[in-house]
């Protein structure tokens, strides 16, 4: 059963491997996946450890429901101290890796040390082997996986790999699996690279017993109907996430030319309908692909229709690539978006961070902070498609002064560029913002400012805030499983009630990440999707664990608190411009210039923003400085961390 899956502690310096069970006490306290990863990271690293040094712990996991019949239990989570932010590093991806790891016997791997030479870890039905990777080092993301298939003579092996970007320690290198399933953000690929670890490969044929199989099967059918019945998921299943970009751009929520504008005009060529047209033309009418067990199938397949990379196969692009290689860099070409997406997939680097770094460099270039000498003669003006693709490659291989500087990540790069370049860096805690512009949406601004892994939309974003749902509907969602009778507003430009929504979503997403399921199956983009009320039954039928919605909520709060404890231990403070819960000053000083009538002129009012952070801290049980109160830690059973239960 799921609960007999183990933790393996692997030391790449010594080659020592230790396998341990996960005690029930630990399951009930943290569930698994991201939550238990956070606990393991806090317990298995020391304050101030070098993110690229042997003492950093690289933790790879599936959620407690991984591989079970709970719908889309595909998610793989990776955690370590981040080389990009110096704080919590965390990434989460779909695909097929974590279930394979579960069938091979494991839910969590804790990898420390550094191999003497390039290696990969091979796990086959409980056996763990560290193998030589001399022949695959240097290969791209997909070539690495197929080379491992050949070497092991087994095409069913699933691998988690790094591409050249991870080897070159690009601070925002990804961990990848499949063609494009990306563990992006915070540079977990660089941590793998620093350990000389090219891949973790799994093959498993061991049963994950389902506690009540027939009931689980029937409940899963209903669960899937609830999920695929949501209009938003039907759209996802047709257009993929690009549809979000289209909708967001039309009302003025897309960061354009770094941060000059909040909407890309004349963007027809990168609108979702056009992307879908290309996918249809190149891959036929049925071009959507799904992750393990998922009926939403939001991943498009495509071939690049023209240009230098014509005919190359890839998947996506997610809406993040439309932002990263479209609006942010002022480009309007599907070819550039698709080629950019392909390059970062093959190199194994974060599309969001890459696009944001190039956009920042472009604004610095246009403002005269970066010279043509420093770009090796490249014209880094906004809208230069060729320069964007060239810079992606330069960053991956750290070519030229600027390629190397940008590969370090935002804050170090701003120190190299100097002058007031930091002011142009649209980041929180050293990680670039998503391509979205949150000036017209205070709830979303609070979300990115307080997210535990730096600016991010997948940790606490109340995305349904944009739907102007009736207060009654909001009340129903946001007062379950714990009562909330404070204010709630249907108006997305409002400030009241938003801290609670962000707090609620933070717990919702943590629960999802600890269970190991996808956010498209919960209250993220759709208001009718499953959440706390539905999970106890799924958990019980699949694993036998009995928990109430309130107990799952408590686990989520606890897990979020550990992530905060980690960041605090690494020196995060509330108002630190590099590590704090703050926004770039432009959010407060520059009003939106474009977009819908209720967005134009909007900016984040500093006083109101500060009041939101205060209230958010109160909900979390933190003091005004963002430090947990003693009573909160006691309530969550975290007063003695690190407690070394596993």
């Amino acid at each position: 059963m799921a609960l007999d899956r183990k933790i393996a502690y692997i030391n790449l310096t010594t080659g020592d491997i230790e396998v341990k069970p996960i005690p029930m006490e630990v399951r009930k306290k943290f569930l698994g996946g991201r939550g238990l990863d956070a606990y393991l990271l806090y317990n298995h690293t020391e304050k101030g450890c070098d993110p690229l040094g042997p003492d950093n712990a690289l933790i790879i996991s599936g959620g407690i429901l991984c591989a079970t019949l709970a719908s889309a239990t595909a998610r793989t989570h990776v955690m370590a101290k981040s080389p990009l932010t110096g704080l919590l590093g965390s990434c989460n991806m779909g695909g097929f890796f974590a279930p394979e790891m579960a069938w091979a016997g494991f839910h969590h791997l804790v990898i420390k040390g550094k191999a003497e030479k390039p290696c990969y870890i091979y796990i086959n039905n409980g056996e763990i082997e560290i193998r030589d990777a001399a022949n695959i080092w240097g290969k791209t993301v997909t070539d690495t996986q197929w080379a491992i298939h050949d070497e092991l003579n087994d095409k069913e092996v699933k691998s988690l790999v790094i591409g050249p970007a991870g080897e070159n320690l690009v601070a925002y290198a990804n961990v990848m699996t499949g063609v494009k399933n990306a563990g992006g953000r915070t540079g977990m690929g660089a941590v793998m690279g620093s350990k000389n670890l090219k891949a973790v490969s799994c093959r498993g044929t061991m049963d994950v017993k389902i506690t009540h199989p027939m009931e689980a099967l029937e409940y899963n059918k209903k669960f899937i109907e609830q999920i695929t019945g949501a209009k938003v998921n039907q759209t996802q299943g047709t257009l993929g996430t690009p549809f979000i970009w289209g909708a967001t751009n039309s009302w003025g929520g897309v960061r354009t030319e770094n941060f000059r504008y909040n909407q890309l005009e004349y963007a027809d060529d990168i609108e979702p309908e056009r992307i879908d047209e290309i996918a249809t033309e190149t891959m036929g009418p049925y071009h959507m692909a799904g992750c393990f067990g998922c009926q939403v199938h939001c991943r498009a397949q495509y071939k690049i229709p023209s240009g230098k990379y014509k005919g190359k196969y890839d998947e996506g692009p997610e809406y993040t690539s439309q932002g990263a290689f479209g609006a942010e860099v002022g480009c309007r070409s599907a070819e550039t978006v698709l080629a950019g997406n392909h390059l970062v997939d093959q190199f194994g680097m974060d599309n969001l961070e890459t696009g944001s770094m190039i956009a920042w460099a472009m604004e610095c270039f246009e403002e005269g902070l970066i010279t043509k000498e420093q770009t090796d003669g490249i014209d880094l003006s906004f809208g230069n498609d060729e320069a964007v693709l060239e810079m992606i490659e330069r960053i991956c291989y750290r070519k030229g002064w600027l390629g190397d500087v940008l590969a370090k990540g935002g804050i170090p790069a701003s120190k190299n560029v100097g002058k007031d370049s930091f002011d142009y860096l649209i980041q929180v805690k050293g990680m670039a913002n998503l391509h979205s512009d949150e000036r017209g949406t205070p709830a979303l601004a609070l979300n990115i400012a307080t997210s535990s892994r730096g600016s991010d939309h997948l940790r606490s974003r109340p995305a349904i805030d944009l739907y102007h749902l009736p207060e009654k509907v909001l009340r129903k969602i946001y007062s379950t499983p714990v009562p909330y009778d404070g204010p709630l507003s249907s108006e997305h430009t409002e400030y009241v009630g938003k801290p609670w929504q962000v707090f609620w979503q933070e717990n919702c997403y943590m629960a999802v990440d600890s269970l190991g399921i996808c956010k498209y199956h919960t209250t993220f983009l759709g208001a009718t999707l499953p959440n706390f009320e539905n999970w106890p039954k799924v958990l019980y039928l699949n694993t036998g664990i009995e928990m109430t919605p309130e107990e799952i909520w408590e686990v989520a709060r606890r897990n979020n608190m550990i992530e905060r404890l980690f960041n605090l231990r690494e020196g995060a403070t509330r108002n630190d411009p590099e590590k704090g819960d703050v926004l770039n000053h432009r959010y407060h000083d520059e009003p939106c210039k474009r977009g819908a009538i209720d967005v134009i002129g909007k900016y984040i009012v500093k006083d109101k923003f500060d009041a939101m952070v205060d209230e958010f801290y109160e909900h979390k049980g933190l003091d005004k400085n963002g430090i947990p109160k003693k009573s909160t830690l006691k309530e969550l059973g975290l007063e003695n961390e690190p407690s070394h239960l596993v």
């Binding site: 591989a67 079970t68 019949l69 097929f96 279930p99 069938w103 997909t142 197929w146 499949g178 063609v179 044929t205 061991m206 049963d207 994950v208 017993k209 389902i210 199989p213 027939m214 689980a216 099967l217 899963n220 059918k221 899937i224 695929t228 891959m283 036929g284 049925y286 071009h287 959507m288 692909a289 799904g290 992750c291 393990f292 067990g293 998922c294 009926q295 199938h297 397949q301 196969y313 998947e315």
Partner: protein, 169 residues
Amino acid sequence: MQSNSKVLLINHEKCTGCRLCEQVCAVKHHGASNPSRSRIRVLKWEMEGLYVPVSCQQCQDAPCLKGCPVGAISRNEELNRVEVDYDVCIGCRTCVSVCPFGAMHYNAIDGKVAKCDLCDGDPQCARFCDIKAIEYTDGGDVSIEKKRVAALRLSTVKKQAAALDEHTA
């Protein structure tokens, strides 16, 4: 009882590669999540975006049935399937080696051969495949939709040829 003509119809072009069919098959038959125990498998050519579910074709003239040295395999006309009698089966795996589709497999955990039994008339793979890449449908009609697509293609070609004639005349 009237014999059943329903068949499992697989249209691989529609397949999204999610492998939920493998998942529900294993859970239905073994109470466990484990694709290696599933009687249907999705084969993938990932760089081509090609995913093909493969299961037993319930052949009319089944090589497994013919090859079985102890007569453990028979046709069940009522369910329109080829089935294994495990009381007779000696586990020699001849059926595995003669099946042209690889649809008969050997399960190392149970030490038994296994194949699709159409879940006794309610195949879970078809039931759960939301995009209908797998359907459980009447055997007499399986090709009508393909015919329709082919017919349309033919008529389009004819129209184009006619237009070309006019143009070049």
